[in-house]
Amino acid sequence: MPGRARAFSVVPPVLTPRALAAVRALVFTLAALPLALLIQRGVAGGLGANPVEEILRWLGTWTLVLLLVTLAVTPARRLTGWTWLVRLRRMLGLYSFFYANLHVVAFVWLDHWFDWTSILADILKRPYLTFGFVAFLLMVPLALTSTQAMVRKLGGRNWQRLHRSVYLIGVLGVLHYWFHKLAKNDLSDPMIYAAVLGVLLGARVLDAVSSRTRGQAFAADRNLQGSVDSPAKSSVTVSRRRTQ
């Protein structure tokens, strides 16, 4: 897609180490801002009439937002050709997990004061809590295997297979919010999250389908011509994309 390349060619596909470090520092700071704002509001007494509810909502919202941003990295890279975006993905995913932890701690501590029996009963009985809890549990192995060493230990293919569960986590996260809001009979906000998730997952389906057809076309091409000139390049791209 040469048109695409022109539109996004203002930014190079690969950044210099210094530029990448600067971008990572910026993203790190931005992702920490919601927590900083929450603390500032808490100290100023500005969390409103029901501060515990506000804390839970805020942390839950940012868990979901950062999860969706993490899921947006690959489609955004494909759209723009900026391969350096992948270098931000782990940090964004871990930030989502960080906010998820704070969300769970606020739930267990501030909201329920470690009343484990009622917490467990609620998780089993209330669908929105079941979805949220399972999503949180599924995040744990992904966070634990997020290091380079773990990627090597598991092997790229296994690691990738494990980390595909992030799609399920995204669905469960949106369901958690959806079922929570169902009581208010107002699904306008969860619908936005569901739509964004739908686009991000849909982009992957489209990409898988198109790379398969491209692969088939290439195979057919090869059988006919028996040559490996220009289509070979796209084949390399396809196989590299699959492993990323």
Partner: protein
């Protein structure tokens, strides 16, 4: 951690609203300097209707400490103005026109009438009643309402022998209420009581709170207050009261029949399908405070339990 529960508070100890508001104003200036874009809703809370509404102390008042007015006026469920808690304080004060205002009272009554709000204000002596308010969402508050028993109004229209229920129909004007765009509720919002519940001395027709006229976001110019039922039973901005021989369909029953019943009495034994009703969070308490246990009939069992004698309240919720 030890939780100190105040045994009671003299009205002289309650911070005057003016002082409270000045403190809020100071906070607003401070917070504005720190972060202009994230001024918390509580500091943005506006009340345009701040005219005082004199009253004499009434019966049934709790000795519990009233929730600060700024919290009760900034954290509201009034879906006609939006479903978020800070939507009503943002939209209602500028949009809701409380004059002229009439209330049609008809149905199974001998003398149906249309009351003007000014006549309703003078219908009976105003009392201040400090009631607990328990929302179905498991939060609670203590509010000093100003009004008189609904029975005062009922008496004047003389219900017929066929009148068994009372329906409350509230304002639904798309020009004033942006929330009507969404189909959350089958507008207008309606509520209902059994006639004996409506006649109970605890049931209040409220015109004010905290010594002032009701702020728009809290249901101006008049609302119902039924303290032993979940807050949504206490209909806001009422325009019509209809006496019927059969139970009126209520807004929440219509929109979510599996989760809401007609009675909606506060009942810690009867969970909402999506959350427990055993405990509640009192507005205005600090972050590190525990939930408090919810009381049967919101603590008004001595007054109202007899209304439901012999009924299975797990089924008739």
């Amino acid at each position: 951690m030890l939780i100190h529960r105040s045994p009671g508070i003299a009205s002289s100890e309650i911070t005057p609203e003016g002082v409270f508001r000045r403190r809020r104003a100071l906070l607003r200036v401070g917070a504005g300097g720190i972060a202009l874009n994230c001024v918390p809703p509580i500091l943005r809370a506006q009340t345009t209707n701040v005219a005082p509404l004199p009253s004499r102390p009434g019966s049934f008042s709790t000795m519990e400490k009233p929730t600060p007015a700024a919290l009760v006026t900034s954290y509201c469920n009034f879906y006609e103005f939006g479903t978020e808690k800070d939507d009503p304080p943002r939209h209602a004060p500028q949009r809701l026109k409380t004059r002229p205002w009439t209330v049609r009272v008809d149905g199974e009554v001998k003398s149906p009438r249309t009351f003007d709000i000014e006549d309703l204000l003078k219908l009976a002596p105003m009392e201040e009643r400090v009631y607990r308010l328990r929302c179905v969402e498991a939060w609670s508050a203590v509010v000093p309402w100003v009004g008189y028993p609904l029975a005062e109004l009922v008496r004047r229209v003389e219900p017929t022998g066929k009148a068994k229920f009372v329906e409350f129909i509230t304002l639904a004007d798309p020009k004033q209420m942006p929330g009507l765009d969404s189909s959350v509720i089958d507008w207008p919002y309606t509520e209902g009581l059994r006639l004996d519940e409506a006649l109970h001395p605890l049931t209040l027709l409220a015109f004010g709170m905290y010594g002032h006229v009701l702020p728009a976001q809290n249901g101006a110019p008049l609302r119902l207050v039924v303290p032993w039922k979940y807050g949504f039973k206490s209909a806001k901005s009422i325009v019509r009261i209809r006496f019927t021989d059969r139970p009126p369909a209520t807004a929440w029953q219509k929109s979510n029949p599996s989760e809401y019943g007609f009675y909606s009495n506060v009942n810690p034994q009867r969970d909402h399908p999506r959350w427990s009703q055993k405990s509640e969070r009192r507005l205005g308490e600090e972050i590190f405070s525990r939930r408090r246990p919810t009381l049967m009939f919101n603590g008004y069992a001595d007054q109202v339990a007899s209304l439901y004698a012999g009924m299975d309240l797990m089924k008739l919720y």
